[in-house]
């Protein structure tokens, strides 16, 4: 299993939050791999466990209440879960960097932006403060902010510019893996376009692998090579972007696509997924999606579906719909029997 080529190999990761009202199964037996230089989109709704997985990789799951119950996170062949806090501190910001959703709160309001970038550089490199500040200005230029603004404070920047600063901090130490948690959700569309364009450019220049957490399938289509769809703490579908968009297989993925109004078509009514996300302290038995699934068969409520490889590299955790694209559009009725 331990493939040296893989940058990131998550095996059976389980993270729970232990709370008074019960065990929140935030991440359940999650398996995921990422190759060098690859862009992975991580899609799901609020509470699907996307951010918890990212925090797990970073070793930042708040404990308590969070607890990694089991599994491995192999990064360049080494299990991050076995690292000491000291070792993790070297990795965080060095080899693995993270961009958080809200640029307004992830910057220090009383520190000039060049110092905030330099802080990161100083922490991970053997350089003088002067060199670090020089590097900070280079980074600012790289993300499209003029050197003159290096001595400005975060509140003097707009939302899009702040996110650029955050990106500059994340990339300051040339990380091998960048985790971006909803990097553009707080931004307006035209500013989002600027930031996505920037991230595109930077990836070409720096050759960083990217895990992009988002709920926007449009961003995934643009930015990612592979996509993992998460539902209730599990990856339910994992595929190259093209396969996922052209042959979505898991009923949840299908429902997700149907929920987005199409800009190019007129639809009177959206085909919605009925019901709500399940309570994470009390997940349904078998497939967690079965109570909302239009294709659910009897076995779905008792058997936990395994990931099936329905085409090379395309995995889906649904035995009922796995054959969807094999035969030409298998009707759901005949599978139900």
């Amino acid at each position: 299993m331990e493939n040296k080529k893989l940058l990131l190999d998550i095996q059976d990761l389980t993270i729970h939050y232990i709370t008074e009202s019960g065990n929140v199964h935030a991440v359940e037996n999650l398996n995921l791999t990422l190759e060098h230089g690859e862009n992975l989109g991580f899609v799901g709704e609020t509470g699907a466990g996307k951010t918890t997985t990212a925090l797990g990789i970073m070793g930042l799951v708040p404990n308590p209440p969070g607890k990694v119950m089991g599994g491995k996170i192999l990064f360049e062949g080494e299990d991050l879960l076995k690292k000491s806090e000291r070792q993790m501190r070297d990795i965080r910001g060095g080899k693995i960097a993270m961009i958080f959703q809200d640029p307004m709160t992830s910057l220090n309001p009383v520190m000039t932006v060049d110092k905030q970038i330099a802080e990161m550089v100083l922490l991970h490199n053997d350089v003088t403060e002067q060199q670090a500040l020089e590097r900070a200005q280079e980074m600012l230029e790289l993300v499209g902010i003029k050197r003159e603004r290096a001595k400005d404070f975060p509140h003097q920047f707009s939302g899009g510019m702040k996110q650029r600063v955050v990106i500059a901090i994340a990339l300051a130490c040339n990380p091998t893996l960048l985790i971006a948690d909803e990097p553009t959700t707080a931004l307006d569309v035209t500013i989002q376009a600027q930031v996505l364009e920037l991230m595109h450019d930077l990836r070409r220049k720096i050759n960083t692998s990217l895990v992009m957490i988002t709920h926007d399938l449009g961003i995934v289509a643009e930015m990612c090579d592979k996509v993992a769809i998460m539902y209730a703490g599990k990856v339910v579908e994992y595929a190259p972007t093209e396969a996922l968009f052209n042959r979505p297989t898991h009923p949840y993925t299908e429902g997700l696509f149907n929920s987005i109004p199409d800009l190019e078509k007129d639809e009177e009514e959206l085909k919605v997924i009925t019901g709500l996300m399940p309570d994470p302290t009390n997940l349904p038995s078998g497939c967690a999606f079965h109570p909302r699934c239009p294709y659910a068969a009897d076995s779905c409520s008792s058997e936990v579906p395994a990931m099936l490889e329905i085409a090379p590299g395309h995995f889906a955790a649904c035995p009922v719909r796995a054959g969807r694209w094999a035969k030409t559009e298998a009707a759901p009725a005949e599978v139900k029997s």
């Binding site: 500013i191 989002q192 961003i219 929920s259 009177e268 709500l276």
Partner: protein, 327 residues
């Protein structure tokens, strides 16, 4: 849904300025349009463009600086507070954040009852309870939730409570201020379907404010695009998306990431950020970021004019830009 209805709301030269320490903030600056009975007017734009302020001024939650808002031909901005109170039954608003717009100490039934109690609609509580139950059915809230408190409900259900409250007094005109922005896509789709079916059933007129263009397109008959307090383009939803005329609309539309694989578009990346709405300079508000700007754009503010029936645009070069885009 009903493009040929009577004009129900007419907004004429509406302005809303806020006095700030740095100067006068032009939140809504000389906006005019008409909304017909039974239609949905989408109001899109980025944060700070004045769309929410416009929505609020239209129903007098904020007082306008100048201008008119005519409801069935009568200027409601001139109404006395007593008349306005009666008027408020006919105009309602649904707010963006279902987490903060509901009183956390009231139960679902009390929340929905509030507008009925305030306006003394029913004399007996039995009638009121019946109405509450009806409203819960209308918006798809299970009856078992009648005694739940907001913190027990998820975002989608809270938004349904917000919608039930706004429907309680049988309004004619509803301002929906980003009603689905705080919700996940699946729940968002459920609420959009609900709003659509309510409109079909009861013939409501909506103003739908959102920054999400695909959502706005889905619900609207006509769409007004706002930039820095001005409506820069107003058009039926199809033409707007097929052939946007204003350079800002073009950039805005091209910026949406499409959830389709392999669809690469020529993206117009705008430079810089939206400028400050405080004491904006003369001329076109968009000129600082516009790809086609000329000298005249700095000197003269372009009026919103009708280029062809049903399509208005505020740009000196709108007509000239049409062939330029054809290539």
């Amino acid at each position: 849904m009903n493009p040929n209805g009577q004009p129900i709301v007419e907004v004429n030269n509406l302005k809303k300025y806020f006095q700030t320490k740095k100067g006068m903030l032009h939140a809504v600056d000389d906006v005019s349009f008409t909304i017909r009975k039974g239609e949905t007017l989408g109001l899109v734009g980025e944060s700070g463009c004045g769309k929410s302020t416009l929505g609020r001024v239209m129903i007098r939650l904020l007082d306008a600086t100048s201008g008119e808002v005519k409801f069935w031909g009568e200027d409601i901005l001139k109404y006395s507070s007593g008349r306005m109170k009666a008027m408020r039954k006919k105009v309602q608003i649904v707010f963006q954040d279902p987490y903060s717009c509901l009183n956390p100490r009231l139960s679902v039934s009390e929340l929905i009852a509030e507008p009925l109690v305030v306006n003394k609609v029913f004399s007996s509580s039995a009638e009121r309870v019946k109405k509450i139950r009806e409203l819960m059915d209308t918006v798809g809230l299970a009856q078992r939730l009648v005694n739940s408190y907001p913190h027990e409900l998820d975002g989608g259900r809270r938004q349904r409570v917000g919608i039930a409250r706004s429907l309680a007094l049988s309004p004619e005109f509803i301002v929906l201020d980003e009603p689905v922005s705080a919700l996940d896509v699946c729940i968002q789709a459920q609420i959009l379907n609900l709003l659509n079916s309510l409109q079909r059933q009861f013939g409501y007129t909506y103003v739908f404010i959102s920054h999400n263009l695909s959502v706005v397109k889905h619900v609207s008959d006509r769409i007004a695009v706002m930039y820095l307090g001005k409506v820069v383009e107003l058009s039926d939803y199809r033409s707007l998306f097929v052939e946007p005329l204003h350079p800002y609309t073009q950039a805005l539309l091209s910026a949406i990431p499409l959830p389709k694989f392999g669809k690469k578009r020529d993206r117009i990346i705008l430079e810089g950020d939206v400028p400050s709405p405080i004491e904006p300079p003369e001329g076109c508000r968009f000129q600082g970021r516009c790809l086609y700007r000329q000298d005249i754009c700095k000197e003269k503010t372009p009026e919103l004019r009708e280029l062809e029936p049903g399509r208005s645009v505020a740009c000196h070069f709108a007509r000239a830009l049409v062939p330029a885009r054809g290539q």
